[in-house]
């Protein structure tokens, strides 16, 4: 694996867009990994939260956008709660999903028509609404 | 060519010592400035600066210790805030703010002092002689 780094790529517009949308300072993260250590859904992630932030620090927004991680995050905010630098990874996930969804780079994650009937009849509304808002934009 | 007159207020711990270092290293810079040595850049009162302009200075350079290095804890921060405000006041008085410069130059930065002196003389030279609207007060203070 090889990354070519350059000042231009590290601080490109897309990186700044992620910072702006998420309200997070990516440079604040010093890669202690406490977010990854405490994430309840990390087992299903292909890239752990601190590594997603690392990709962004290196200017690799495209790689970050391709991760499964950003769709797995359940916004429980445990990472943000314990982060020694006050970085909210969930907000970064929201920002990355927003970038994909707003550019129609990704089709809506949840197909409302295909929701299991049990879900529609059984699950609390808040769960369905929450999922649609978080994952479909 | 117009040779500006510069008054330099240097703190004795950092910038004055930096200027001495420039000398011992035989670095060369233009002779436009004369130094008034003070204990701390925080000793500099805006009146001193304005007085210098009234008395014929075309530029004033204040040199202090780097932030965090002040011999007297935080005198340079006081200077920093004062200079910020003073530059605005100078603008209101019709004196280009760039005629006043504050620089952090440590005792080890003879090279930086030389560069700053050269730059500042060039800047003030480009600004031309300071023309004050009022006739310059020649008489001394009391």
């Amino acid at each position: 694996m090889r990354l070519k780094l350059s000042g231009e790529a590290i601080r490109d517009d897309l990186v700044e867009r992620v910072e702006e949308l998420s309200g997070q300072n990516l440079s604040a993260c010093y890669q202690c990994g406490k977010c990854s250590a405490g994430c309840p859904v990390v087992e299903e992630m292909d890239v752990v939260p601190s590594e997603v932030i690392r990709l962004l620090q290196l200017g690799q927004v495209e790689s970050a956008l391709e991760t499964k991680t950003i769709w797995i995050c359940a916004s429980c905010l445990q990472c943000a709660s314990r982060c020694p630098k006050g970085v909210e990874f969930s907000s970064i996930c929201d920002a990355l999903r927003a970038i994909l969804l707003r550019r129609r780079l990704s089709s809506p994650r949840v197909d409302a028509d295909e929701l299991a009937p049990v879900m529609v009849s059984d699950a609390p509304q808040m769960g369905v609404v929450g999922a649609l808002k978080k994952l479909n934009g | 060519m117009f040779e500006p007159r510069i008054v330099c207020f240097f703190c004795k711990w950092c910038t004055y010592a930096g200027a001495d270092l420039a000398g011992t290293s035989r670095k060369q810079y233009p002779p436009n400035g004369v130094v008034v040595r003070v204990n701390c850049s925080g000793r500099i009162d805006p009146q001193h600066v304005i007085w210098a302009f009234r008395e014929g200075a075309d530029g004033v350079l204040i040199g202090g210790c780097h932030p965090g290095d002040c011999h007297y804890q935080d005198g340079n921060y006081k200077t920093m805030r004062r200079v910020k405000l003073l530059r605005r006041v100078l603008g209101d008085m019709g004196i280009e703010p760039d005629r006043l410069r504050l620089e952090w130059i440590s005792a080890a930065e003879g090279e930086k002092l030389v560069k700053v002196m050269g730059d500042f003389v060039d800047t003030v030279r480009d600004l031309g002689p300071l023309e004050l609207e009022e006739p310059r007060v020649v008489s001394k203070r009391a």
Binding site: V128, V129, G130, L132 | -
Partner: protein, 303 residues
């Protein structure tokens, strides 16, 4: 005492047991929950992206409705509480977003006036958003509740599951210690329960991922349920309909995954409150659970 009450969609539909048990219990404690005359969905999740005010208009509108009838609003659902409280904080602290949101409110008012002469004043965060448990603690007092308990729940081992949205983000919610909260334990002690502390009480149940990645939600919920069970819980209380759903309904799935899985009923804390206050079982409605709580309650002679 009348207290403005925002039920939210889920309590109006799927979680009627939560709503009714809470209203009845409040009544027994001398509080009339006064439902807002008009309210809408709060939006369920607080937007984490910073570039729009559209997403907070729903909660702001509800807060503005609440401001017409009181200086506080009580809610039960952990999601509603989270969204209302955070939107309220934005209205208090962010002048730019406040201004924009109020522009929308004014447009709303103009549109509405034509049909129902309903006006909304500009809103600046003046309403205090209270969770029902905070209302119990601050307006009633846990001591006072303890004195009104008619059926002591002694012998019933209860674990309180907090979940995420009451506690986090901690600086905005300021609900309790985010790592070692105790408000529900204090409450359960007032009811006379044997309180079970367990380390997963602040971990996530999987939340809305039950819709997208159900496996993840089941794993998360299982982690919570098993941890409480291991420490001897007869029953787990929650304050979130989605947590209830995940922890309760997904036990069907957990049974398949975990050998010798022992089921544990999940109820709303207001249902236990009602039980302790001697409220008629029909108002508490223990029938809507996947894991029926009635056997254990009967076994402990509480029903």
């Amino acid at each position: 005492m009348k207290v403005p009450y925002y039920p939210g969609c889920t309590l109006h539909e799927r979680a009627l047991d939560f709503d009714v048990s809470a209203r009845e219990s409040a009544r027994a404690l001398g509080i009339e929950l006064e439902e807002l005359p008009i309210w809408t969905c709060c939006g369920a999740v607080f937007p984490l992206t910073t570039d729009t005010v559209m997403d907070i208009l729903a909660p702001v509108r509800n807060l503005a409705y609440a401001s017409r009838i009181g200086d506080k609003v009580v809610t039960l659902c952990a999601f509603c509480y989270n969204v209302l409280k955070r939107a309220n904080k934005v209205m208090r602290d962010d002048p730019e977003k406040r201004e924009k949101a109020n522009l929308f409110l004014r447009a709303d008012t103009e549109a509405r006036e034509a049909i129902e002469s309903y006006t909304l004043e500009d809103y600046d965060g003046q309403v205090e958003v209270l969770h029902y448990i905070e209302m119990l603690r601050d307006l009633v007092g846990f001591d006072a509740i303890a004195r009104k308990v008619t059926t002591k729940l002694g012998g019933l081992s209860v674990a309180a599951y907090y979940g995420c949205t009451l506690l986090r983000p901690k600086k905005e919610m300021e609900f309790d210690d985010p790592e070692q909260p105790t408000i529900f334990e204090d409450f359960l002690e007032a009811l006379g329960c044997d309180v079970v502390d367990f380390p997963m009480k602040t971990e996530c149940c999987g939340g809305f991922q039950i819709v997208n990645e159900p496996d993840i939600a089941v794993a998360c919920s299982q982690n919570v349920v098993v941890s409480a069970l291991k420490r001897g819980a007869d029953i787990i209380v929650t304050t979130c309909p989605l947590c209830r759903y995940n922890l309760d309904k997904q036990q069907e799935e957990m049974e398949k995954r975990v050998q010798g899985f022992q089921k544990v009923p999940i109820v709303y804390f207001t249902q236990l409150l009602g039980l302790a206050l001697g409220i008629d079982e029909e108002h508490l409605d223990f029938s809507d659970n996947y894991v029926d709580p009635r056997p254990v309650l009967t076994e402990k002679s509480l029903l």
